[in-house]
């Protein structure tokens, strides 16, 4: 059972002191398709959490509407929207056992006690916490606590599952495991998931759709592949995959003034292994710094005023001067002033 979420022209302004109002969200429109994971990605303060809270009904929008399926839920009480939410710092009830935490939404909904037990146990099994049902949240590890938070959200069979940076408080290793587990869980239950994160790796690995937000508006949305391969703006290019961005040399672009050139570090190839073709970018640089990542090495190449990052095989012999080539097909061009992509 799942439904799409339509967010239509949602606006949010906060009335601050002295009548100064701050605009948090500016005409945000997006659709989270039914049964899929849609990630809202952005830096802190970009409005992504506010947007999620508006979908949940914990905040009211200043303008616009939220629809779940065919239903306009803009002014429906949070508990009657068919949404459940998982919080960054878990939001568990400290005085209730794990079992009672998971059961609580069912109890409030007036579900008979026997049914409550079976449903909460089923949710706990799905998250592998059915052996800690009698413990208090304080007696659990961070990972287990978040599992309780997720189980509690699942217990109600929500149409929409909202996740607000659910993995941010966990250790790096656990985060990687939980990432895969969350996706597997979502595939099993098939509910629509809106997932807020500032972590581009989470967004890339988990999502069916990525929505990149910046300063209260949507910068770009699409599948992870689309957003990564064809970034619409320099912001998205730098945020996802850390693209090199530099003023285009006049010789490479002809009328280069006002154009920013973008190259992903992994798209640089050593010039002695490939022959440069017309249209390719050729960089003759001095190695300022090299970071070994294991199988790869990131070279920081100084060429004129620009510092390029190139990701090369760690086995590549290091010289002080290195020439790199990037294929024409892998070059991205953006308008320097607006940051918007320019058609090649």
């Amino acid at each position: 059972m799942s439904a799409p979420v339509h967010i239509r022209a949602v606006e949010k302004t906060f009335e601050g002191a002295k009548r100064a109002s701050t605009r948090i969200l500016n005409e945000v429109t997006l659709t989270a398709p039914a049964g899929q994971i849609t990630t809202i990605l952005g830096e802190s303060g970009c409005g992504k959490t506010t947007l999620l809270r508006i979908v949940a009904g914990l905040e009211s929008a200043t303008g616009g509407s939220v629809h779940i399926g065919e239903r306009d839920v803009t002014s429906v009480h949070p508990s009657r929207r068919g949404v459940a939410m998982v919080f960054q710092n878990y939001g568990l009830y400290p005085a209730k056992t794990v079992g009672k935490n998971i059961e609580f939404p069912l109890k409030m909904a007036g579900v008979p006690i026997a049914q409550r037990h079976t449903r909460s146990l089923a949710a706990a099994r799905l998250l592998h916490i059915d052996h800690v049902m009698d413990r208090l949240p304080a007696q659990l590890s961070g990972g287990q606590r978040q599992r309780v938070g997720i189980a509690r959200a699942l217990a109600r069979d929500p149409e929409i599952l909202l996740m607000d940076e659910p993995l941010s408080n966990l250790d790096a290793q656990l985060r990687i495991e939980m990432r895969a587990e969350l996706v597997a869980m979502q595939r099993r239950i098939g509910s629509t998931m809106l997932y807020v994160t500032h972590d581009q790796t989470e967004a890339m690995t988990m999502s069916d759709r990525v929505v990149v937000m910046r300063g209260g508006h949507i910068e770009q949305q699409g599948t992870p592949e689309e957003v990564f391969r064809v970034p619409e703006t320099t912001y998205v290019a730098a945020f996802l995959g850390n693209m090199n961005l530099a003023p285009a040399p006049a010789s490479e672009t002809g009328a280069g003034a006002g154009i920013t050139l973008g190259v992903r570090p992994e798209h640089f190839l050593p010039a002695d292994r490939v022959a440069a073709e017309p249209g390719d970018l050729r960089i003759e640089g001095r190695v300022e710094f090299a970071e070994l990542l294991g199988t790869d090495r990131i070279l920081h190449l100084r060429a004129g005023n620009t510092l390029w990052r190139a990701r090369v095989d760690a086995a590549l012999p290091l010289h002080e001067e290195i020439t790199m080539v990037a294929r024409a097909a892998n070059l991205h061009r953006f308008d320097t002033e607006s940051g918007v992509r320019v058609a090649a």
Partner: protein
């Protein structure tokens, strides 16, 4: 040099300990010594329970204890009924004029009870509450300090817990009773210790509104006993004093941790 510093430090601490404990030891020793021996300085030369017998014969101890118990428990129970919802509203609900209420609360904490005592006394006399138990209870039910303390605790509870409760379909009352109160047990216990010890030990206000022993609490009874014909009967006086602190001492032994936290609050309250 370091050893010397250690010795000096410990000596000072020991001196402080003696200073604090000496009156209590003197009280306990005197309670078991005949008055004649006390006057002669021969503490515990002939240990006796006679002083306690004298007190039991002359003082309506049962009434005092019962009154104290009723006052303590009723004050705390009514305080919970009034202060918990008030603190919750000030911490978590949005209503017009919230800032003003919080501000007024702060102001109220700054006003010492002694300033309010006379107006309250006049009101109570008007409505005929003088010399009754409710007179000892009612002024402390709407405690600004209790509201402030609980509000601070409620503010420190994670916001996501309240968000979760809203999404789970818990209304204000269900959130308060089923989630906030169970989660606030440490704060409520500390408040309980603070309220009950201060109600048990209260003398200032009872001395205002009580005139005879029918509604008297223990401290009032102690002073009455000392002021009666027993002015120089030090032995029975100390026995009475011992009996007055005994229940709190026993409670302290059972719930030391709560007590220390609650008494630390008393220190903050001034």
């Amino acid at each position: 040099m370091r050893v010397l510093g250690q010795i000096v430090r410990h000596l000072l601490l020991a001196l402080g300990g003696v200073y604090m404990l000496a009156p209590i030891i003197l009280m306990l020793a005197s309670a078991f010594t005949p008055t004649a021996d006390i006057l002669a300085g021969r503490y515990l030369a002939h240990p006796t329970l006679e002083n306690f017998q004298t007190v039991a014969q002359q003082v309506p101890l049962g009434t005092y204890y019962l009154n104290s118990l009723i006052v303590c428990l009723a004050t705390f129970a009514l305080q919970l009924l009034v202060c918990v919802p008030a603190a919750f509203a000030m911490a978590r609900l949005r209503y017009r004029g919230r800032n003003i209420t919080v501000w007024l609360l702060g102001l109220l904490i700054l006003i010492p009870f002694q300033v309010l005592a006379i107006p309250i006394y006049l009101i109570f006399r008007q409505v005929g509450l003088i010399n009754t138990l409710p007179a000892l209870i009612l002024p402390f039910v709407g405690s600004a300090f209790a509201i402030f303390l609980l509000r601070q605790f409620f503010l420190a509870l994670p916001g996501s817990m309240f968000d979760a409760a809203t999404l789970d379909g818990a209304g204000t009352l269900a959130t308060l009773i089923q989630i906030v109160i169970p989660a606030s047990r440490p704060a409520l216990l500390s408040l309980g210790v603070f309220t009950i010890t201060s109600a048990w030990n209260a003398y200032f206000w009872p001395s205002f509104v009580l005139s005879d022993s029918s509604s008297a609490t223990i401290p009032f009874g102690v002073v009455q006993f000392i002021n009666s014909d027993a002015v120089t009967a030090y032995g029975p006086q100390m026995a009475m004093a011992t009996l007055s602190v005994l229940p709190l001492l026993i409670a302290f032994l059972f719930a030391q941790r709560q007590f220390i936290r609650g008494l630390a609050l008393a220190g903050q309250a001034g």
